[in-house]
């Protein structure tokens, strides 16, 4: 599964989001999810290979017609908000795919 984090230039806001999301994936022992930061201009070309797109709230207007599961974050440093929304989106994306691609680490 692929999560794309999005911002205007692909190395500021989106990088911050990537760092938090990777922490959350680790906490939940989710493997097989890659997180890729990108900029708005490049995103259109990557959309087909992306399951979930995570962006700051005010990018909503750029994502109205997106084919991905869209996650909009209000507070970029609120890990609780990011955790809830991203885990929910992963569930939705899994349902869409109809498979269980995300393997849980055996402890």
């Amino acid at each position: 599964m692929r999560i794309t984090t999005l911002c205007g230039m692909g190395f500021g806001t989106s990088m911050m989001l990537k760092l938090f999301i990777e922490d959350i994936l680790k906490e939940n022992k989710m493997k097989n999810v890659e997180v890729v930061p990108t900029d708005l201009g490049s995103f259109k070309g990557q959309e087909a290979s992306t399951d979930i797109v995570v962006a700051p709230f005010d990018m909503e207007r750029h994502l109205k017609s997106s084919t991905c599961v869209v996650v909009l974050i209000r507070n970029l440093v609120d890990k609780q908000e990011i955790r809830e929304k991203v885990l929910d989106a992963i569930e939705k994306a899994e349902q869409r795919k109809g498979g269980d691609e995300i393997g849980e680490e055996k402890s």
């Binding site: 806001t13 911050m16 709230f57 005010d58 209000r74 970029l76 440093v77 609120d78």
Partner: protein, 152 residues
């Protein structure tokens, strides 16, 4: 090479309780501090304004806090961060996180060398107690020392 927040934070571009009238003035104010310190050129200020005009106010990424930057390039002399608190909060036209009273400018020379500093910054901004202290501080020198002391 990845720099830490301590290395990128420009002492002369850390100001407490600055007075600006609107968001353009805010961008100019922090931008000019970084120009004076030899970190960016005036072109970077223009570039940040263009990004803002083109992509909208999404850069207000935390309630009350805007993280401004433009594409990396030659208008950045050295990767740098400016950090300014405002005396009076101003509108940046964000739908949820206005008004803004902390303006942060990232001058990035490339796409990578600031990532460690960004993680440290995110950590600092996610702590409400830290933010309360930052917002209360009235002297620029104290603000600089405070931020440095809060870096984890």
């Amino acid at each position: 090479m990845e720099y830490s927040l301590k290395e990128l934070l420009v002492k002369n571009a850390v100001k407490a309780k600055a007075q600006v009238a609107d968001r353009n003035e805010a961008i100019d104010y922090v931008g000019n501090l970084l120009v004076k310190s030899g970190s960016i050129t005036g072109d970077y200020i223009l570039a940040m304004k263009n990004v803002f005009a083109k992509l909208g106010p999404y850069q207000v990424v935390v309630p009350g806090i805007v993280l401004l930057h433009a594409h990396p390039g030659n208008s950045v002399i050295k990767t740098c961060i400016g950090f300014v608190t405002l005396k009076k909060p101003i509108a940046f036209a964000n739908s949820q996180n206005d008004p803004v009273d902390i303006v942060i400018v990232l001058g990035a020379r490339d796409r990578k060398s600031h990532i460690k500093a960004l993680a440290e910054l995110a950590n600092l901004l996610s702590n409400q107690q830290y933010l309360t202290k930052i917002r209360k501080t009235k002297s620029s020198k104290e603000l600089y020392n405070l931020i440095i002391s809060l870096i984890r």
